[in-house]
Amino acid sequence: MAEALGFFTDTTVCIGCKACEVACKEWNQLPAENGGVGTLSGDSYDNTRRLDGIHWRHVRFIEQFKGPYDGRWLMMSDVCKHCVQAGCLEVCPTGAIIRTEFDTVVIQSDVCNGCRACIAACPFGVIDINPVSGTAQKCTLCYDRLKVGLEPACSKACPTDSIQFGPITELRQRAQKRVEQLRAQGTKADLYGADPNGALGGLNSFYLLVDKPEVYGLPKQPQLPTRNLSKTAGFSVASAAVLGVLALVGLRKHRMDDMGGPGGGGGGGGGGGQN
């Protein structure tokens, strides 16, 4: 496998211009929402609102205002995290979701049948159906561009280098330096998803945050969906066994009644007819 590639997003320098969103839509030829008729969220300056099948990049606006002169904006260009241990890839029943030679996670649109298991499996809410293709879609980390040595469209378009693209090991070092720089300035800063020993084996798209992950719409401790499999399957098997016993106890009771009742003594048997 080639070197693992990914994104480091420094949210402190994001200006919310949404150039990354536009570049992504343009390069990947993603359709417009609502037939191109603009819809306003009505409660935020962010009108994209979320990642989905036709928005593979989304600049999230976190508007923390207590009053007109007391508040701050946080901005984060959100995207698929290309998890090292990816829940979507784990549950995909068609094999449409693959790990590429760049250690990124890609959905093959010609294989996906739109069952949507990956949507529920993703702890970040990244994936959704593209209504035009009828398949689940998300960021491919511009796999087609990587194949020919180009950087992804979003990071190329980012005017402030909030989105940085490169080999993950290099990006981690760069991110750590930036955290130290910010902390030296008195700014609270932490990396999210940069630890290869952390949640999901690390994220190949990781972030520098200045508030709790939940504030940015990120889970504190993202987990794989299969964490529940053995326990929930075990309880199901146990309840099936209890139902089986209940059914057999009922049959046995009937048989005992038959034997004890008038004309009893017969009823032996199992068998159940000729079929």
């Binding site: 935020s44 529920a120 398949t135 209940l246």
Partner: protein, 301 residues
Amino acid sequence: MSDTFFSGAPHWTWFIIPYFYVGGLAGGAYFLAAILAWFGKPEDRPVVRAGYDVAAVGAIFSGLLLTVDLGQPLRFWHMLFQSENFPAVMFKAWSPISFGAWAILLFGLFSVLSALGARAEEGRLQNAALRAVGGVVRGGLAKLVSGVGGILGFFVAGYTGVLLSVTNRPIWADSPWLGALFLVSGASTGAAMLILLAPGRGAAQRSLEWLSSFDTRALVLELLVLALFLISLGSINRVWLSFWGLVLLVGVVGAGILAPLRLHAKPAQAARLVLLGGFLLRLATMLASEGIDRYRVAAGM
């Protein structure tokens, strides 16, 4: 706040909810039919035949619902075979939706075979080819088919809940009891359906009494598992402070479990309520989670 609140809703709604219901009911009905086929008496045969019929129709209907729900229905076979490497099998033992696709296919096959065998036994098959197939499924083979089919039936009834738990969605992934709950509900609704249909197939009173007493026990177990499910949700239970909480309390617990337990003397009436409760259980658990949208949570709305 649970981390599950940051995931996205998969839009499993108006085809998947009926599928979960019908699949559970069909699996439960087949399981009961298989129990009677193995351990019952000749007088139980009408119930066995009705159970096979319910299972066969339910399995076919389930497959159709699942296929129609896909974004690309013509690619349904991608769940069974590798599309780029046909006929290599596509199977992931750790993915409930993958082994569920195989389970519903095999359950359909076994339930149709059993139904054909039962119809051949009654002499109700007009088509020569079907009569030939049905004629083969008798004696020891019929028992073997019903044994394997019974296990598959319970598998289909329960895996749907396991599938929901193996996600990152609120409610579904926050409790390990959903698989057990759906399985027990599948058994109770399967019994209820047989209580309503079997008399039309000439079922003996003793068989119906057995079904009714089984359903009562299954409902008590369902109530217990539902309580464990709610306890395991902990702080997530605040999601029930909604319309779906009302549906769960009034529709599922009240109308679907407690009322049928009180109506024990009127099995047909109780059975109808059990069927309603089983559907409302899927409806409430599915839509309560589906309604939680990631961006709204993140925005504190």
